[in-house]
């Protein structure tokens, strides 16, 4: 039931997330694109959980927990960087680029 379309939509969402990470320089928008990719993978898990049983849905549960933790720590890092350089633009934050 709807396996092909669900996988197609998740492929499209994942590619849009990849493009977003590559074309944006704002660190917060970059984070949002990463969340978009995580959501695309969640859609794959739920689509295949129709056949594999409830384990796929549990994996989505864990992905959401990890995404929440990642968002909290990542946004705290962005806040700290902003306080230091007054910018979240990745073009100006190149201290680690060597």
């Amino acid at each position: 039931m709807l396996l092909g379309p669900a996988l197609a939509f998740s492929a499209l969402l994942f590619s849009i997330g990849v493009v977003g990470v590559l074309i944006r320089r704002n660190a917060i928008v970059l984070f949002m694109c990463i969340e978009l990719m995580l959501n695309a993978v969640n859609l794959t898990f739920v689509a295949l959980a129709q056949y594999h049983g409830v384990g796929g849905q549990l994996m989505v549960f864990f992905v959401m927990a990890v995404a929440a933790a990642e968002a909290a720590v990542g946004l705290a890092i962005i806040l700290a960087v902003f306080r230091h350089t007054t910018s979240v633009d990745l073009k100006t934050n190149t201290l680690l680029q060597g």
Binding site: A6, S15, I28, V46, L58, A67
Partner: protein
């Protein structure tokens, strides 16, 4: 009927994701991402995962996106200079994205019969015979409700990952406080 709604929701999700990455304003991008996540919740509902749909709305749109919008407003990121990279980088990114999409879109050709064929390594069993666990899960969901069917394996088979998740969240809370506080 459900198929039509699923297609409509998927189209909305993809279109608002495209708007999300092409909006120059960070707040507008966040709102478009909320639209994507809400339509994904609807798709989960149609795919037979109402509990996941509920926590998608609660955790993703309710908690994570609110956190994003808080930070955007805290940093006062208004209409500034566009943060989208130049035409060269943009063209390269679109080429890479189209490549990823064409590679991943081969998955769209899967239906239950082909999935069963490949999982069993080339025997012509019907999908219902191959995916017995899903059938069992569906039957137990009828007996103990949607949440019960998820809670059962969560607190037996997946108990260790579940407890490790609590440690991860504790570490994330402490880490976020340490990073965001000026002076500890």
């Amino acid at each position: 009927m459900a198929d039509t709604i699923f297609m409509a929701l998927g189209t909305i999700a993809v279109l608002s994701a495209i708007f999300c990455i092409s909006q120059r304003n960070a707040l507008a991008a966040a709102i478009w991402l909320v639209v994507t996540m809400l339509s994904l919740a609807g798709m989960y509902l149609i795919l037979g995962a109402p509990f996941i749909a509920a926590i998608q709305v609660l955790v993703y749109t309710g908690a994570i996106m609110v956190l994003f919008i808080f930070v955007i407003m805290l940093l006062n990121l208004g209409e500034g200079v566009s943060d989208i990279r130049g035409p060269g980088a943009k063209a390269l990114a679109v080429i890479l994205g189209v490549g990823t999409a064409t590679f991943l879109l081969r998955l769209a050709g899967y239906d239950p019969a082909r999935l069963a064929f490949e999982v069993t390594g080339g025997t012509d069993l019907p999908p219902a015979a191959v995916f017995e666990t899903a059938e069992l899960a569906r039957r137990s969901a009828e007996g103990q409700g949607v949440v019960g069917a998820i809670a059962g394996p969560l607190f037996s088979t997946y108990l260790v990952p579940f407890e490790v998740t609590s440690l991860l969240l504790l570490a994330a809370i402490v880490g976020a406080v340490v990073l965001a506080k000026r002076r500890i």
